[in-house]
């Protein structure tokens, strides 16, 4: 989850009259997890449903509400301006939607710029789905001649990209810049790529890849153009609403851009009305709050709320698109009322709980194994191919593999437990013998589509370990615990030595194998003792 750094001096200035201590203790109740704290700053983790918390402007607004300094909704005040942006039909094929807004007369210090960049990156990653669904460009307005145009160009189009001093073609940028290489695939090899041009024909932006150097924002920039391009119109406006709200909180004055062409329209950024039933809110929270207390709680979460008989009429700012319905409003009520004021209650129940029959049988089995002197081991279901196949001298085919595992130790789903148990012994050769271990675990095989069964593996290593010992353990386990008789029939198995291997037969079917581990495998695992083992499938044997 994303993390934001908050400097106390800035935050205190933004929140208004309150102490540092009050701020620190209130932060978790906004849903922010404290990661690190020093004298100057605090680092908090925020949830992906609140991208407005990517800057201290958003968090300050939240704190003002919770601390009761300012309540209710902050209206977006957007003046109508002469600015125009027209989209050409050609963008429909590549990236159909565009929206924009102007922010004027603001002050950008370095920290504000840094926070805006963080906000932008978070929006790109989250609702922008790594710029695929929506991406943002923030520009120096004074470098741009209106009206501007959202259109497409071929890849020989030239401009100076952000962070560069020389002109390059679109192809150059796609092939030679970091942004081009990272996001170029979003354009899926389109012949014509999206571009924003101003009235003089200057390139402003090449979405969703990179801005132009011409409109670079610095700490001396006073006026901004924010544009968002997207594959979904609603997402474009969602994205814009967060940036616009943040800029207004940062002291900018918002002015609209008239947008037209190819199904695009001027964004309304208007609030949403929603009704919340007082009874429902109380029922879910387990409280008996009056409609006015609920309204106050909602206002502390920076929403507007008007009690009307049994309902509360709520007004939700455009950027709170995480609020989908009444349940989301009820969470706001809980936050505004104070989670610390909710006293836990223990609901009575006449229900009698019980473990699953499989769990019960496995518990019993585990107790028997322990009683027989075996200690329980636990291994991963995802194992390494080398241990599962290479070290046991087995052909590797037909195994179930996961895609792009981050660890070589966890790449395939095990089809038996024994190899991991041998590996366990090999990592414990320095420990006192005898070593007697068992594991109960899930094994996997390709079926329709995948079969999961539970298996028991039992292994014994010491200087006198022998076949009779382990066969006796096997028979005693099944007989004592489950009244199952089993027999052993001469057989062969890649793990066990020739002439010392048998199939385990119960109820006339093969349930596993038993034997003395083959000396070549003992050698592979660098074990210094004779090892005997058995592995049997429990599914269908002691439960269904």
């Amino acid at each position: 989850m994303p993390v934001v750094t908050l400097y106390f001096d800035r935050l205190q200035r933004l929140v208004g009259k309150t102490s540092k201590e009050k701020i620190i203790s209130a932060l978790p109740f906004l849903g922010l997890d404290i990661e690190e704290q020093t004298d100057q700053y605090i680092r908090v983790e925020y949830s992906p449903n609140r991208p407005d918390y990517a800057t201290d402007f958003g968090i300050a607004a939240g704190l003002q509400g919770l601390l009761g300094i300012k309540k209710g909704l902050v209206k977006l005040d957007v003046k109508r301006g002469p600015y125009q942006l027209k989209a050409d039909q050609s963008v429909r094929k590549v990236r159909p939607y565009v929206t924009a807004i102007i922010a004027k007369n603001g002050n950008l210090d370095d920290e504000t710029i840094r926070q805006l960049i963080t906000l932008q990156e978070d929006l790109h990653f989250g609702i922008g789905r790594n710029r695929k669904k929506s991406s943002i460009g923030i520009h120096d307005l004074d470098k741009i001649e209106f009206p501007i145009r959202y259109t497409t160009v071929t890849k020989d189009h030239r401009f100076v990209p952000l962070g560069s001093e020389t002109e390059g073609t679109i192809s150059d940028i796609l092939q030679n810049t970091e942004a081009g290489l990272q996001y170029g695939k979003l354009l899926e090899n389109a012949e014509a790529v999206p571009i924003i041009l101003d009235a003089k024909g200057n390139t402003i932006s090449f979405p969703p890849i990179i801005n132009s150097a011409l409109t670079t924002v610095s700490s001396s920039t006073k006026n901004l153009l924010v544009e968002v391009t997207a594959t979904d119109k609603n997402t474009a406006e969602d994205t814009l609403s967060v940036v616009a709200t943040t800029l207004q909180n940062a002291g900018f004055l918002l002015t609209s851009v008239q947008i037209s062409g190819a199904g695009n329209t001027t964004p309304s950024l208007k609030t949403k009305k929603m009704s919340l039933g007082v009874e429902l809110a109380n029922k879910i929270l387990g409280l008996k709050l009056s409609s006015s207390i609920i309204s106050t709680a909602l206002k502390k979460c920076r929403l507007d709320a008007l009690p009307k008989r049994n309902n509360i009429s709520c007004t939700i700012p455009r950027f709170r698109f995480d609020i989908l319905g009444p349940m989301d409003l009820i969470e706001e009520v809980a936050l505004g009322y104070g989670i610390e004021n909710l006293k836990p209650t223990l609901p009575q129940s006449s229900a009698v709980g019980q473990k699953n029959i499989v769990t019960k049988q496995l518990d019993l089995l585990s107790k028997i194994m322990v009683g027989l002197g075996f200690t329980e081991a636990l291994n991963s279901s995802l194992v390494s191919k080398n241990i599962q196949y290479g070290m046991t001298n087995r052909d590797s085919f037909g195994f179930l593999q996961v895609v792009e595992s981050k660890s070589q130790e966890h790449t395939i789903l095990r089809d038996m437990l024994l190899p991991s148990m041998l590996d366990t012994l090999s990592r414990n050769v320095h420990e006192q013998y005898p070593q007697k271990l068992f594991e109960i675990g899930t094994i996997f095989s390709a079926d329709d589509p995948i079969k999961e069964e539970i298996s028991l593996c039992c292994i014994s290593a010491h200087k006198d370990a022998n076949y009779s010992e382990i066969k006796s353990i096997l028979q005693s386990t099944l007989k004592t615990g489950f009244n199952i008789e089993c027999e052993t029939k001469t057989s062969t198995h890649f793990c066990f030595a020739k002439g010392k291997t048998a199939d385990v037969i119960a109820n006339n079917s093969k349930i596993g194998a038993i034997g003395e581990i083959d000396s070549a495998i003992v050698e592979n695992f660098k074990l210094r003792m004779p090892v005997v083992a058995f592995e049997i499938k429990l599914s269908g044997l002691i439960f269904n």
Partner: protein, 476 residues
């Protein structure tokens, strides 16, 4: 003097009374004890001040496999001499007869030994012998002595006239032609005190009841399993019934049914394990698929794709099991729980595992509340022995409202984040025909087990380190 001795100690003392000085092998033979027993016995005797141990070390030399080769065919310089016995040769001729690397070594060493002379005229460089039959060089002498077993390295250090031989010895060692074998040995003898000890039959009947003895380990269930069992007991004692499900699941139940959009970052391969080349044939009932698809279209505004929902994943939470149970059974009232392995495509570290255990509790009922959820939580922790609990708001994609619980850990002296909880979103429950509020909470079990066993590295649970498995003790 009376001293209580272990039978092993007595045997050793008796052997040393017969022969004053013995090494370990000799003691093994005389006492008929195993090497381990002899070593242990000597340690005990040493601690009691009854035996002296003098450690010594002896260095022996032998030819390496390269050395055996050299012994047969001669050092490069000797090969060169043998060649020159036929008459003077040019550089090129010599190079052809010897290998390239041998040639350079041969020229350098033969010159140093003053065996050859090199004359240049206009076109070629001629090598000829200075002495018709050069005597053995220092290296060759060392080689022979080592081969015959008469080599004495110490003698070389003490005799100035042997300096050249010493240099030759080091040269051969550097070339890997000879190897050193260091053999350590221990000579054991009795101290004066020990000589007076009575080791007669009468003495043998007594044992040292105060001596340290080897540990006996009890067989036991895995420490993590003990915590898992405890959690199961608590859930059943609170009236919850266990449901189980597969580790491999169609994306439909792991994600789609929980209102996770198909382009959500959590569904990417960097976070979730997809099973290569396997898709589910049937993921859910037609009605369930239809309703879930509709909910996604409405809530997330995109075209939901059944093929994505068919992809098989290793479950990332146990919620896929509980939601399927609720969707199939549609209970008006229920207390269920699900516990088991879940998977994340994470880099394994002291904090994170790719595979771990999760538990999840579910309460369905027409009158259940968020405060009830908090109360159940508090009761669960109380039964686990964790008494200081508080709640903070948080976000989960499929619950609303959502909370997280913080539990105070005495050992760490701080609040630790444990289970998350919430009420299932209507976008999750409605399409699946679940009409009553569903309280859900859960989280990773290893985190709690780490607190219980005082571990700082979660990997310890799966290392199967026998030393730990045999002795782990719960501390909280």
């Amino acid at each position: 003097m009376s001293q209580v001795l272990h039978p092993i100690e007595k045997k050793i003392i008796n052997a040393l009374k017969e022969t004053e000085k013995l090494n370990i092998e000799e003691l093994e033979q005389k006492t008929d004890l195993s090497s381990d027993q002899v070593r242990r016995g000597i340690e005990w005797l040493k601690l009691k001040g009854l035996a002296d141990v003098i450690e010594s070390q002896e260095t022996k030399h032998k030819l390496s496999s390269a050395g055996d080769e050299v012994l047969k065919s001669g050092l490069p310089e000797r090969k060169l001499v043998n060649l020159l016995k036929e008459g003077p040769k040019s550089f090129d001729e010599a190079k052809q007869s010897l290998s390239e690397s041998d040639f350079h070594a041969a020229i350098a060493n033969a010159k140093r030994n003053d065996w050859i002379q090199i004359e240049k005229d206009d076109s070629t460089t001629k090598i000829s012998l200075k002495v018709q039959d050069p005597p053995l060089s220092a290296e060759e002498k060392v080689l022979q002595e080592i081969n015959q077993g008469t080599f004495d390295q110490n003698a070389l250090y003490h005799d100035k006239n042997q300096h050249e031989k010493l240099v030759g010895y080091f040269r051969l060692k550097k070339l890997g032609i000879i190897e050193e074998i260091v053999k350590k040995s221990k000579t054991i003898s009795l101290t004066e005190k020990a000589k007076d000890i009575d080791t007669s039959e009468k003495g043998l009947a007594e044992i040292d009841v105060e001596a340290a003895i080897p540990a006996t380990f009890v067989a036991r269930a895995h420490p993590l399993k003990e915590v898992i069992n405890e959690i199961r007991e608590i859930f059943t004692s609170l009236g919850f019934t266990e449901v189980l499900g597969n580790f491999t699941q169609p994306s439909f139940w792991n994600f789609d049914a929980l209102f996770t959009p198909q382009d959500h970052p959590a569904r990417e391969m960097q976070d979730t394990f997809y099973i290569k080349d396997f898709v589910a044939n049937k993921v859910a009932s037609l009605a369930q698929i239809k309703q879930v698809s509709k909910s996604h279209k409405l809530g997330w505004r995109y075209n939901w794709n059944i093929e994505e929902a068919k992809k098989m994943v290793l479950r990332t939470h146990t919620t896929c099991v509980t939601i399927k149970y609720l969707a199939d059974q549609k209970p008006d009232e229920a207390r269920i729980f699900s516990l088991g392995r879940v998977f994340r495509n994470e880099k394994v570290s002291y904090k994170h595992l790719a595979e771990f255990n999760q538990v999840e509790g579910i309460v369905v009922g027409k009158d259940v509340t968020l405060r009830d959820l908090m109360g159940l939580q508090q009761e669960f922790y109380r039964k686990m022995g964790l008494s200081k609990v508080k709640f903070w708001p948080t976000f989960f994609p499929y619950t609303e409202p959502s909370l997280q619980s913080m539990v105070y850990n005495e050992r760490l002296g701080k609040w630790v984040e444990l289970f998350g909880m919430g009420i299932f979103r209507p976008e999750v429950t409605k399409p699946l025909g679940i009409t009553k509020p569903v309280l859900a909470w859960g989280g990773g079990i290893e985190r709690i087990a780490m607190l219980k066993y005082g571990l700082d590295d979660v990997r310890e649970f799966y290392n199967n380190n026998l030393g730990w498995l045999r002795t782990a003790i719960q501390c909280q």
